[in-house]
Subunit: 248 residues, 2 copies
């Protein structure tokens, strides 16, 4: 049985907030739990925000902004977070971030920010953020749940966004059945399962999108949670390198 | 609280099987439930299989098979299910199916088939399959759960496969927050959520990949389940048309 439940009553996350302490105060965590955190809460706590008033757009940002009907300062922040701009069409900038994630606007986001004119960036090192949260949760609670940091990404060929894992500590990002056989002794086709992305999506189903519920506790995945001293390879293992990518 | 639980004890699905009756016999279904069914069970019940011994490969199938180290009969079946071949590289055929889905091998699959040398196709009309299952479940149980038919698809930029909805009856495929605002009155960024794909992924987490657990009951999504007489637009609404696709 899988379950996912959003934590109620978390306050607005301020820069420097001890996010793990807030989570620990609102949940009875156990070993084998997976704590799924929307990246905005992490980024706010880490101060990964930019004030538009402090941004001076460069020439490329001004050109792209003019072509796509955007604020040039906002575009400059997106470019600052971008390693490669894959597409700029119909008002959408599809970027490869410095982490290697392919997503719209390099994950830069204006929503759910308390102060106006402020943008939220992705954490600088989301796997590191997840590892620090896991370590701090263990320190505070004695339990060693896995931690998954998420964002909502669009998909190439399907409408809508789905939540994916951008940072992971203590959960296997992929479940590898390659070379193993099914109940009839035949090789399995779906053999390399993006476990952590499915966890991210399941967690999103448990929260209200308009409410302040950045944290969801998922249970029933004990078999995939790594021992306390093993954080695993992180969400970096989910990034398909450009050399293997047939679609960029 | 979201929950997902796989049905235990389902028999191997034979051609012509009354899948809804098997599900109804193994679950206590309620209005507001979402019954998630791996497409293989649906395809087997519908007889959507091909025997390799009855396939004569054409010239294109023989060429592709030679170039990618595959069985030419298998490739012929893939081509029969394909509207457009997007990529053929490194042994992988990325296809647009007749339904418009972009996936490897047009969803044609050799695993978990009882008889050797048999391939399982996607249902011909997965939304229709979901609607028939929903209607039959209602007839048998009096409850009108939603039905989601799933497959495991790879993703352009991320490793691993995640389950997605290929057929839907009675569940909103997308949750549309476009134009709505967040708790600070700002427009939301992740505003068009691929709800049914996230449900597919959540359900996959609840089942053992090597076991015969094609059916998972998901609870806690009552607000997204449509009234008994409204099946909604189906998974067709999740397909991004070629005209809007930046990556093919």
């Amino acid at each position: 049985m899988l379950s996912a439940e959003a934590l109620a009553g978390l306050p607005e996350i301020a820069p420097g907030a001890d996010l793990a302490a807030l989570i620990a105060a609102h949940a009875e965590l156990r070993d084998g739990d997976v704590v799924v955190v929307a990246h905005k809460a992490v980024s706010k706590a880490e101060g990964r925000v930019r004030r538009l008033a402090e941004v001076t757009p460069g020439e490329r940002a001004r050109e792209l902004a003019a072509a796509h009907g955007k604020d040039p300062r906002h575009v400059q922040v997106v470019l600052d977070e971008t390693a490669e701009l894959l597409r700029a069409e119909r008002g959408v900038l599809i970027c490869v971030t410095h982490h290697g994630f392919v997503c719209a606007n390099a994950g830069v986001d204006a929503s759910n920010v308390a102060e106006p004119e402020t943008l939220i960036l992705l954490p600088e090192d989301p796997d590191g953020s997840a590892r620090r949260l896991r370590a701090r949760l263990r320190e505070l609670t004695g339990a060693a749940p896995a931690v998954v940091v998420t964002d909502s990404f669009g998909r190439a060929w399907r409408h809508g966004q789905a939540d994916v894992a951008i940072g992971i500590a203590g959960l296997a990002p992929l479940e590898d059945w390659r070379g193993r056989t099914d109940s009839h002794g035949r090789e399995l086709r779906a053999t390399w399962i993006a476990l952590a992305d499915q966890v991210a999506g399941a967690a999103d189903l448990a929260r209200g999108k308009d409410s302040r519920q950045p944290v969801v506790v998922v249970r029933g995945l004990e078999r995939h949670v790594l021992p306390p001293d093993d954080d695993g390879p992180g969400a970096a293992a989910l990034v398909r390198p450009a050399s293997e990518d047939l679609f960029r």
